[in-house]
C-alpha cells in the first residue's frame, strides 16, 4: 500500500533522514521506533507532505506521491495525527472534528460525527467545549478521532502516547488494537517500543536518520544490538 524508497530529507545541510526504505501492506500495523532525534517524525512528515524530501520516492497504492501537498494526500487517503496532537485549542471539540471531515460531504460528515460520538463518548459529552480545555488523554482521543473523520486508508500517528499518564497510555494502545481489529492500516511512531511491538505486525528501528533494522517484535527483541532501543530510549 505504502512504499518508501531511499527517502532523504534535509533541514539545511543536516540530513535528518537518509536513504530510508519502508513498506506498509494493506491492513498492517507497522511501528517506527528509535530514540529521540532518530528521524521518526521527519519520516512521517515527509510521507504526509509537511516536509519536502531531497531525494527518494514515496508511492501510495501504486501512485507516486513524493512531495505532494498534505491537502492532496489527505484526499488520497493518507492522514497523520501530528506530534503533540496539534488540536485547535480555540475551536470547540465538535469544530475540530468537523475540520477533520472537511473533505466529506455534509451528510457523511454528520454520520461520521455521530460515529465518533459513539466511539469516544467523552468527546460527545464535551462537544461544545473549547478543545484547549481538554485533558491530555481527551485531546489525544480528539486528535485520533479528528484524523478518522477523513476516513483514511492509511493512518499515521506520531507519538500518540507521549506525555500521557500510564492508564491513558493503555487507552491509546487499546485504541490501536481496536483500529487494527477493524482492518485499518496504521503506521505509528512510538518511543514506547516494548508496548508498540506488542500491537504491531512489524516495526522499523531508526537511529540517527537511518533505518537500522526491520522485523516482527520477536525478531527485533532477539537482536542484542538493539537492546538500547528498548531499554535506553524510553522503556516506561
Amino acid at each position: 500500500m505504502l512504499e518508501v524508497s531511499r527517502l532523504t530529507t534535509r533541514y539545511g545541510a543536516i540530513s535528518a533522514l537518509r536513504d530510508a526504505d519502508l513498506h506498509v501492506g494493506s491492513g498492517e500495523v507497522v511501528g517506527l521506533i528509535g530514540p529521540n532525534g532518530a528521524g521518526k517524525t521527519t519520516l512521517l512528515g515527509s510521507i504526509a507532505g509537511l516536509l519536502s524530501p531531497a531525494a527518494g520516492s514515496v508511492t501510495f497504492e501504486g501512485a507516486d506521491i513524493t512531495g505532494r501537498s498534505p491537502e492532496k494526500l489527505l484526499r488520497l487517503g493518507v492522514a497523520l495525527v501530528p506530534e503533540h496532537r496539534r488540536i485547535f485549542g480555540d475551536l470547540t471539540v465538535e469544530e475540530n472534528l468537523k475540520i477533520g471531515g472537511i473533505t466529506q460531504s455534509r451528510d457523511e460528515r454528520a454520520e461520521l460525527l455521530h460515529d465518533m460520538g459513539e466511539r469516544f463518548p467523552v468527546l460527545r459529552e464535551k462537544r461544545t467545549v473549547a478543545a484547549g480545555y481538554l485533558s491530555g488523554g481527551e485531546s489525544q482521543q480528539l486528535a485520533i478521532a479528528r484524523a478518522l473523520m477523513s476516513k483514511p486508508r492509511l493512518l499515521m500517528m506520531d507519538e500518540p502516547s507521549l506525555g500521557l499518564a500510564p492508564v491513558l497510555v493503555d487507552v491509546v494502545f487499546e485504541l490501536i488494537e481496536t483500529l487494527r481489529s477493524q482492518g485499518r492500516t496504521l503506521l505509528v511512531v512510538e518511543q514506547n517500543a516494548t508496548r508498540m511491538l506488542e500491537v504491531a505486525d512489524r516495526a522499523y528501528v531508526l537511529r540517527s536518520g537511518e533505518v537500522v533494522a526491520e522485523g516482527t517484535g520477536a525478531d527485533l527483541r532477539a537482536r542484542p544490538d538493539l537492546f538500547d532501543t528498548f531499554v535506553g530510549g524510553n522503556g516506561q
Binding site: 498534505p70 491537502e71 484526499r75 485547535f88 485549542g89 480555540d90 475551536l91 472537511i102 473533505t103
Partner: protein, 295 residues
C-alpha cells in the same frame, strides 16, 4: 448631552467604515501573517472606477455593486500576482511585498491616468439629515451604520457557521495542521482575500460617496485607518478589529469636537498619541490573540 449623542452617532458612522477596513486587514493577517499595507489600493482602484462610471452618467445604485465587485477582483488579482509568490516567506518579506504593491498600483495610476485629483459627484442624499428628537442624524451616517451592522452580522455568520469559516479559523490557528486535515491553502487564502476585498469594497463605496474624488494615493488614509484599527484591536482578532475601528472613529470625532478650536486641527496627532500610549500599556492591543506568532 445632545452634543455627546450627536458625537456618538458621528463616531459610529466613521467607526463603521474603519471597522470594515480593519476587519479586512485582520482576516488577511489571521491566515497568512501579512500586515497588508496594500489594503488601501482596493479603494484607489475603486475610486477610479467611480470616477469613470459616474462621469459616464451611471447612478450610484449601479456604481455601488460595480465598486464592490472591482474591490473583490482587485484583491484576488493582487493575491495572485504578488502575495501568492511569497507565501510562506518571513513576515518581513510579506510586509515589504505589500509596500511594493502599494507603490506599483499608485505608480500605474500616476503614469497612465493622471497625478491630478479626479472628481465625481456624490449622491444627492449624502448631505441630507433627518431629526430624531433634538438630534440631527445624517442619512449618510444612518445608512453607513445600518449597512455595516448587516455586513458584520453576515461576516460573523460566515466565520462562525460555515465550513469555509471553520477552515479559515483553523488555518489562522495552525496552518500546517489545517492542511493535514485537508484544508486547501489556496481556498482559504483566496477566500480570505475575496472577503477582505468585499469588506474594503463596501467601505470604499461609503468613503468615495463622501469624498467625491480620487487620486493615485487616495487609498493611503483608509489603509492607515484600517491597519491602525486592527492594531488597536489586537492583530489577528476579528472582534478586536471591529472594536478597534469603532474606538478609532469615536476617538477622532470626540477629540475634534472637544478640543479647543486652536488645536482642533491637530486631532490626528492627538489620536496617534493616544494609540502610542495604548501600545505602551497594552502592546497586544485590546483583544489578545493566542496565536499571534506562527509556530
Amino acid at each position: 448631552m445632545t452634543e455627546l449623542l450627536q458625537n456618538l452617532i458621528d463616531g459610529l458612522g466613521r467607526g463603521s467604515i474603519y471597522a470594515l477596513l480593519a476587519l479586512g486587514v485582520a482576516v488577511i493577517f489571521g491566515v497568512m501573517h501579512l500586515l497588508n499595507f496594500a489594503h488601501g489600493e482596493l479603494i484607489t482602484v475603486s475610486g477610479y472606477v467611480a470616477f469613470w462610471t459616474i462621469n459616464e452618467g451611471w447612478s450610484w445604485y449601479l456604481v455601488t455593486p460595480v465598486i464592490i465587485g472591482t474591490a473583490i477582483v482587485t484583491s484576488l488579482v493582487i493575491e495572485r500576482v504578488a502575495f501568492s509568490r511569497v507565501r510562506g516567506s518571513s513576515d518581513f518579506t510579506l510586509l515589504l511585498t505589500s509596500f511594493g504593491v502599494h507603490f506599483v498600483v499608485s505608480a500605474i495610476f500616476l503614469l497612465y491616468v493622471s497625478a491630478s485629483v479626479k472628481t465625481f459627484s456624490e449622491p444627492g442624499w449624502v448631505a441630507d439629515t433627518f431629526p430624531v428628537g433634538s438630534l440631527n442624524v445624517e442619512v449618510y451616517d444612518a445608512v453607513v451604520i445600518g449597512v455595516t451592522l448587516v455586513t458584520l452580522l453576515g461576516t460573523s455568520w460566515l466565520v462562525q457557521r460555515t465550513m469555509f469559516g471553520l477552515a479559515l479559523r483553523a488555518a489562522a490557528a495552525d496552518f500546517d495542521t489545517a492542511r493535514l486535515m485537508g484544508v486547501r491553502s489556496d481556498t482559504v487564502i483566496r477566500g480570505a482575500f475575496a472577503l477582505s476585498g468585499l469588506l474594503a469594497g463596501i467601505a470604499g463605496v461609503f468613503w468615495l460617496m463622501r469624498s467625491g474624488h480620487t487620486t493615485p494615493t487616495v487609498g493611503i488614509t483608509p489603509m492607515l485607518k484600517g491597519v491602525l484599527a486592527a492594531l488597536i484591536g489586537g492583530l489577528g482578532s476579528l472582534r478586536g478589529a471591529v472594536l478597534g475601528g469603532f474606538v478609532l472613529g469615536l476617538a477622532e470625532v470626540l477629540l475634534r469636537s472637544r478640543l479647543p478650536d486652536s488645536v482642533a486641527s491637530l486631532t490626528e496627532g492627538f489620536v496617534f498619541l493616544m494609540i502610542a500610549l495604548l501600545f505602551i500599556f497594552r502592546p497586544q492591543g485590546l483583544i489578545r490573540v493566542a496565536h499571534a506568532e506562527r509556530v
